[in-house]
């Protein structure tokens, strides 16, 4: 893979986070309809990094307006809690290659929804040297006790398996670090 990953790729995550807002109680619907139509256009031509570059080059004006829109949406998309969210570039490339980008937004949203004490969410690529399988490892830092963590994970998993399609959902794993 030769594509370089720019901030625009990271920004794309928020396009999908915006789309995923269907799952949340608040719906900033007027602006989201515009964002959603642009997302649909991008997914129509495919979601690999190479055609993402093409799409970005061909849609400079919409992209700029979308970035402006996203900036305006940020306060609505941000949780009131201070949650640090980290993605490696490797995970963005992996997700783009496997059509998983939109699930990054969904995972982030559901994590904030079901883990009330989450402080940090880190996305990285997991790798099994025995099978050479890869997946997205979602590592979260939470405070609380073991029973809390079990209950929150249970609620998270219930919504995750009904919201995310198979087999894509099996490409995400959740690890809790109780601090």
């Amino acid at each position: 893979m030769s594509e370089t990953i720019s901030d625009e790729h990271i920004t794309l995550k928020y396009f999908f986070l915006a789309e995923s807002y269907n799952y949340a109680p608040k719906k900033p619907d007027r602006d989201l309809s515009e964002a959603r139509s642009l997302i649909q256009e991008w997914t129509r031509i495919g979601t690999s990094p190479s055609n993402l570059e093409t799409w970005l080059n061909e849609h400079k004006t919409p992209l700029r307006s979308l970035q402006k829109l996203l900036k305006e949406l940020q306060p609505q998309l941000s949780d009131e809690r201070q949650v640090e969210v980290k993605h490696s570039h490797e995970v963005i490339v992996f997700c783009a290659d496997h059509s998983l980008i939109k699930y990054l937004g969904l995972v982030e949203l559901l994590t904030k929804k079901y883990f009330p004490t989450v402080r940090k969410i880190s996305f990285s690529v997991g790798y099994d040297p025995e099978t050479v399988d890869k997946w997205v490892s979602v590592d979260i830092e939470i405070s609380g006790d073991i029973d809390d963590a079990i209950e929150w994970e249970d609620n998270f998993v219930k919504e995750w398996v009904t919201s995310a399609a198979y087999p894509e959902r099996t490409k995400f794993t959740l690890s809790c670090d109780i601090i």
Partner: protein, 149 residues
């Protein structure tokens, strides 16, 4: 042997909070739950291979057995699997060396096993078999090959 014994081993290990004990508890917790899952699938008539790809077969079958509780249990098993890989292969300090996180893994495995056990009756195994057979039939009709071929 009974795979549930791995869970007791994990609990015994956590009498110590040493990093190696915590990491091994993650490993034993995963294999306890995984092997109970394999046993359930095989008793439902679906053979699981004895190679590294068996992990994926268990994921595929449980995800497509048309029983929501087992789909959820499978997702928790996948979470245990990911932690087990970190515990076994990534030897830099991390959350898999902390006793509370290891206890969480043990508890999670217990819950997964309880869910599998709640489907161990003949009637429940028939439901599982029917769901997976239906999935295999769909795959075969689309691709011409069975997912386990």
């Amino acid at each position: 042997m009974n795979p549930r014994d791995f869970l007791q081993t994990a609990k015994d290990l956590l009498k110590s909070d040493k990093p190696a004990a915590c990491r091994t508890a993650f490993n034993r917790s995963y294999y306890a739950a995984y092997n109970v899952g394999v046993d359930l699938l095989e008793k439902s008539g679906h053979k699981v291979s004895r190679t590294a790809k068996a992990h994926n077969e268990v994921t595929t079958y449980l995800n497509n057995c048309a029983i929501q509780e087992l789909v959820e249990a499978q997702q928790k098993l996948v979470n245990l699997y990911s932690d087990r890989i970190k515990a076994d292969y990534q030897l830099w300090p991390s959350h898999v060396e902390k006793i509370n996180n290891a206890k969480l893994a043990v508890k999670r495995a217990e819950i997964v096993i309880q869910t599998f056990d709640s489907y161990s009756s003949a009637c429940a195994r028939q439901r599982i078999a029917k769901g997976i057979n239906s999935y295999k039939h769909k795959i075969k009709s689309v691709s011409g090959t069975s997912p386990d071929s």
